[in-house]
Amino acid sequence: MALFWKHRDFVIFAILLGVALAFPFMGIPRFILAAVLIMYCYATVVSQWNLVFGLAGIFSLAQVAIFAFGAYSTALLGRYLEMNLWYSFPIAGLGGILFSFLIGLACLRLRGIYVALLTLAVSQMMFVLIQTDAACSALNKAINPMSCVSFTGGSQGLGDFGSFGWRAVLGGRNWMTGDYYTMLGLLVIGLIVTYLITQSRMGLAFRALRDNEELARSRGISQYKYQLLVFGASAFLTAAAGGFYAAHFGAVGINLFGFPLLLFLISMLVVGGIGRLWGPLLGAALLMSADEVFKEFSDWRNVGLGIVVLLFMIFLPDGLAGGIDKLHKLAVRVFTRARTA
């Protein structure tokens, strides 16, 4: 038992990975498989967001904009340069890093709520820029002379830019399984990366700046450098996840920059547990399930999410992961007391 708790994270990881790998062969209906793979995608984004928000304590809301940036980059590269999406993912990832660097740079002198406001403004600006992009683009005229599609697709969104290509490999019935494993691979990389960063010297710098910025700087940590590093480090997989999302759906839309998605993902972070390794996965799983329920009451979906976030912030500020930790500690205390009594 003691051995289990010592290697708890590895054991959980191994079990979950086993289940996830076997999942498509358990006779699961397709629509559930589709929902789970999207859950993986969101969990990846939230795990990277957790680096900025939880580990470094920077209240950035830019993560969803970086995700959307990755999705649009992939779509544009695929559509206008006819690039194979497998090449455009890393390009989108690098672009995401650059985009995130700029946001991090803009936030350098800001603290707390002001970071949230600035990063929210960035998302809204992108939203409006794409929404108002309505002029027929010559590039699209070249593809289809009869149509009038703007460069970014404007408020209608953009399609026809390719996919993972699993349909050609696995056939029309099984392509979803290919998409599923692709997303799973991304999530596994995302979790390993966050784990390694958390354990590393760089992670120590992020936590030090989060806990006490003045003290951290007096101990030789450059706030400037590590803020840019956390914005950069968390952006690659986020933007790549955006590309994967675009590839899976074969379409991108302006809703990627919208407020509901932002609220949905931040709810995952809060509900799962900010700053916890398993928080993003727990949060994504719970909220995707809850969303299936709330879907019936579409108008009330955001209200319901808002209430869930509020309740967690008040009663379980460390989220589900934090709650489980507390339960475990309590159990250990009760157990040892019972033994010594």
Binding site: L204, A205, A208, A216, G220, K225
Partner: protein
């Protein structure tokens, strides 16, 4: 030796720090030589903490020159100043609340001596671990390495700040009120630890209101009042200085301290 003495470790010239119209540090000069232990005293609001903030780059000087081994540092950032060899503690109990004592100290050990390049190293090396070990032993915290800061009593938090600063292997250590709020017994514990550091040859600037602590440890004392230096010299002279007794100590305290110093001289 004499050659070394002509080059101060830290040289401050005409240092001013204004907050609006208030000169918190007013035309301050100070030379600190290797092996020095400088005690800074003075009434509340005299500008003692502000002076440390200025040296350590937390709150840069409005004007004036500060040099460490001849390198100007007045406009450098706190992390750069730390890398050059100045490390400090804070008057309020500053710590990385969510981390253990060991991790807290590791921050100083892993970043305090330099952090070159845009992409930093990701792992810790043996020297870093050894610096942590040494600092914890010096501050008597080696048995509590796994305790989390937010659960620590005041004494341990004060010692931890010292350990974190020492882990950066500073040429100059700045200590702000290390025994503020401690009971007499704990004051003695800290005194012993600081005496140990002095024996190791660490150069120190020390702020303290507890005069017996300040007088017993310092080789030279500086008294600040309204941001100005009103005294610099040894402890004896301090207790006989009219102005210091008038604005800071008061007759009673001065007499009591004089007794204490005499007793100490006789016994030791």
């Amino acid at each position: 030796m004499s050659n070394e003495e002509t080059q101060p470790l830290l040289a401050c010239r005409n240092v001013f720090k204004y907050f609006g119209g208030l000169a918190a540090v007013n035309d301050f000069d100070l030379d600190v030589f290797p092996g020095d232990v400088i005690g800074i005293g003075g009434p509340n609001g005299a500008g003692k903490t502000t002076f440390l903030d200025v040296i350590s780059g937390i709150s840069p000087a409005t004007s004036g020159d500060i040099a460490l081994n001849g390198t100007p540092i007045a406009t450098k950032k706190p992390d750069a100043i730390c890398h050059l060899g100045i490390s400090r503690t804070f008057q309020l109990n500053a710590g990385f609340e969510s981390m253990s004592i060991e991790e807290n100290t590791l921050v100083g050990a892993a970043f305090g001596l330099g952090d070159k390049g845009w992409f930093p190293r990701m792992t810790y090396n043996r020297e870093m671990r050894e610096r942590v070990e040494r600092a914890l032993v010096l501050c008597n915290l080696q048995d509590k390495a796994d305790m989390v800061v937010r659960d620590l009593p005041v004494l341990d938090r004060k010692l931890l700040m010292l350990a974190g600063a020492l882990a950066t292997e500073p040429k100059l250590l700045l200590i702000d009120e290390p025994v503020g709020g401690l009971n007499p017994h704990e004051v003695d514990d800290v005194m012993e630890i600081v005496q140990g550091l002095i024996k190791e040859g660490v150069t120190i600037i020390l702020i303290e209101h507890v005069m017996r602590f300040l007088l017993q440890l310092s080789k030279r004392v500086v008294i600040l009042h309204h941001g100005e230096k009103i005294y610099e010299g040894d402890s004896e002279g301090l207790l006989n200085d009219r102005k210091v007794v008038e604005v800071y100590l008061g007759e009673g305290t001065a007499d009591r301290l004089q007794h204490m110093m005499k007793n100490r001289a006789q016994n030791g």
